[in-house]
């Protein structure tokens, strides 16, 4: 369990993390989502005490990270896979980490990739909480699948998984819960379906041999239509049943009618690109004015 309260970090004139409050719960994969530079890494550094917060607190299992009796047994973190002395063998690297927390010796490490070494280091203390900062960056599809399955398996064991990414598609595939951050501020704290539902206008896929007629009645009912050719249309602003009823009442033949689920990618783009304010699931309502967020570089 990770709990942040009013976490704020300022580097000179730059407000990297702005009054973040959230909790990361056990047994779930919590995705930490935001574009590059949004403050994901800084937040993780604050959790680990690598950086000192300008204000606010963050507790890991109820205590500041530095006060945990055996930090490695409670939190495993992979923030930077390159944060390793290049002249030291994998065995000695893991050994010198294990020794700080009085972990028993184990033998026979055969780890090739730096990423896997970093993950091995994070898992060394069998911690209940795991933090990964952009773990799939630079990995091939096989490596991405490996990490994704690893995180799912670790969450299934009841561990707390906190994983950051700027790739929405990655979160859509792995995360149970989402914390979305933009310009240092928390803009969403909800499940993946909630996030998509709240952030994408509902759309309906319709295929009809009479596109002109359908466009007219949909527009009359207040919907908007995008024609994708071949009689395929995407209707926004109306539900599936509304579109079906309209077609029936106006004798427009339909060959296909389905709700179109917007992907997380689209939802995220919409959230960050538009000035639409989003508050779903955020406990304390606060306004995110583009102007006030704009003071951050």
């Amino acid at each position: 369990m990770i709990e942040a309260r009013g976490l704020t970090k300022r580097y000179g004139d730059t407000l990297a993390v702005d009054d973040l409050s959230f909790s990361v719960e056990p047994g779930k994969i919590t995705g930490f989502l935001g574009p590059n530079g949004a403050g994901k890494t800084t937040s993780m550094r604050l959790i680990l005490g690598l950086d000192h917060p300008t204000s606010g607190t963050v507790a890991v299992n109820g205590k500041p990270f530095a006060q945990l009796a055996h930090p490695m047994r409670e939190v495993g973190a992979l923030l930077d896979a390159k944060a390793v002395h290049g002249g030291r063998s994998a065995h000695n690297h893991l050994l010198c980490l294990a020794e700080t927390n009085n972990l028993p010796r184990s033998k026979g490490f055969s780890l090739g990739m730096g990423q896997r070494l970093g993950i091995a280091a994070a898992l060394l203390g069998d911690p209940g909480i795991l933090m990964f900062d952009e773990p799939v960056n630079g990995l091939d599809p096989e490596g991405i699948l490996w990490i994704r399955n690893l995180m799912k398996a670790l969450a299934a064991e009841g561990r707390t998984i906190f994983v950051s990414s700027h790739l929405m598609s990655e979160m859509e595939n792995t995360a149970d819960h989402l914390l979305v951050i933009g310009r240092g501020r928390l803009i969403a704290d909800c499940t993946v379906p909630e996030f998509i539902a709240a952030n994408s206008r509902q759309s309906v896929r319709v295929r009809t041999p009479q596109p002109a007629e359908l466009s007219k009645v949909v527009a009359a009912a207040g919907g908007t239509v995008h024609e994708d050719g071949d009689g395929l249309m995407v209707v926004q602003g109306l539900g599936v049943s509304q579109v079906g009823d309209l077609a029936f009442e106006n004798s427009v033949r339909l060959h296909e009618l389905a709700p179109a689920q917007a992907s997380l990618e689209q939802a995220f783009m919409e959230l960050t690109a538009s000035s639409v304010q989003f508050h779903a699931g955020v406990p304390s309502e606060r306004d995110l004015e583009p102007a006030s967020a704009g003071k951050v570089a």
Partner: protein
């Protein structure tokens, strides 16, 4: 759901239950593993031993050659003076040895920053005072042991060369053992001073430059001071203060051996304290 092999077992690995609290003992073992598992440690220590002993031997050889070429009358006149200088002559390699140990001391901490290892280290042992103290103790202990070995080896190699002309000192003579042990202490404290500067500056090149400036360049610059200034300032120059313990410094303007060494330790303590304060306060 993807069903390819999940790379971990479904059960949590069985680690023995944790007792107590991760503290100084574990941090010491970890730092020992770190310093002995990189090659640069061995190269630096070998360089320290070879350079220090080698230069001491070269000085002793030169002295013995000069002495052997003197007419018998000159030898009789010079013998007593040469014997009084025999100990420090064999230890002259410390002047360059201090720079090698300064490089190693700086690297012990700055290499954590240059490789990024510091972030990994602090995310497994976030108690920073414990972390830095363990590192300083491990480095200091290694520097002291290697320093003492180097100093004794330099002394005995040098005296063996000087003894060919019977202008050597013996370890039992007054002040000789102090000077030889002092040579080892001097190296260890040089290393720790540099370690402290490394913790303050966090960059290898900067820390090494600062150490060499403080230890070496300052002692050269002091030679250009007008005499009436020099008598007040000379003894406070780090190299002169620290060197008092192994060099037979002439003149009443210098500190006595142990007072000088205490002043030198004071400089190192200031650097280490500044390093510790900044290490705890700054973002890693």
């Amino acid at each position: 759901m993807v069903t390819t092999a999940v790379p971990v077992s479904g059960t949590r690995a069985a680690l023995p239950a944790a007792r107590g609290r991760a503290g100084f003992g574990g941090a010491l073992r970890s730092e020992l593993t770190k310093i002995r598992s990189v090659r640069s440690t061995y190269w630096s220590l070998i360089a320290l031993v070879v350079i220090t002993i080698g230069i001491g031997a070269l000085f002793a050889f030169g002295q013995a050659q000069n002495f052997s070429q003197m007419p018998p009358g000159g030898q009789a006149f010079e013998r007593a003076r040469d014997i009084s200088r025999a100990t420090e002559q064999s230890l002259f390699g410390l002047i360059l040895g201090q720079m090698v140990i300064a490089v190693l001391g700086a690297l012990a901490i700055t290499s954590e920053y240059s490789t990024g290892m510091i972030r990994t280290s602090l995310s497994v042992m976030p108690r920073r005072g414990v972390s830095l103290a363990a590192k300083a103790v491990v480095f200091g202990a290694i520097a002291l042991v290697v320093g003492l070995v180097t100093s004794f080896a330099s002394y005995f190699v040098g005296q063996a060369i000087l003894s060919t002309q019977h202008i050597n000192s013996t370890i039992g003579q007054p002040g000789v053992l102090r000077a030889v042990i002092g040579g080892g202490l001097f190296l260890a404290v040089c290393g720790l001073l540099s370690f402290g500067l490394g913790a303050v500056l966090r960059h290898t090149a900067g820390a090494i430059t600062a150490s060499i400036g403080l230890l070496f360049v300052l002692s050269i610059l002091s030679g250009f001071l007008p005499h009436n200034w020099a008598v007040h300032i000379d003894k406070w120059i780090p190299f002169n203060a620290g060197g008092a313990i192994w060099e037979n410094q002439s003149g009443t303007s210098m500190f006595s051996p142990w007072i000088g060494f205490a002043v030198f330790c004071g400089y190192a303590a200031i650097a280490l304290a500044a390093g510790l304060i900044l290490f705890r306060r700054r973002d890693a």
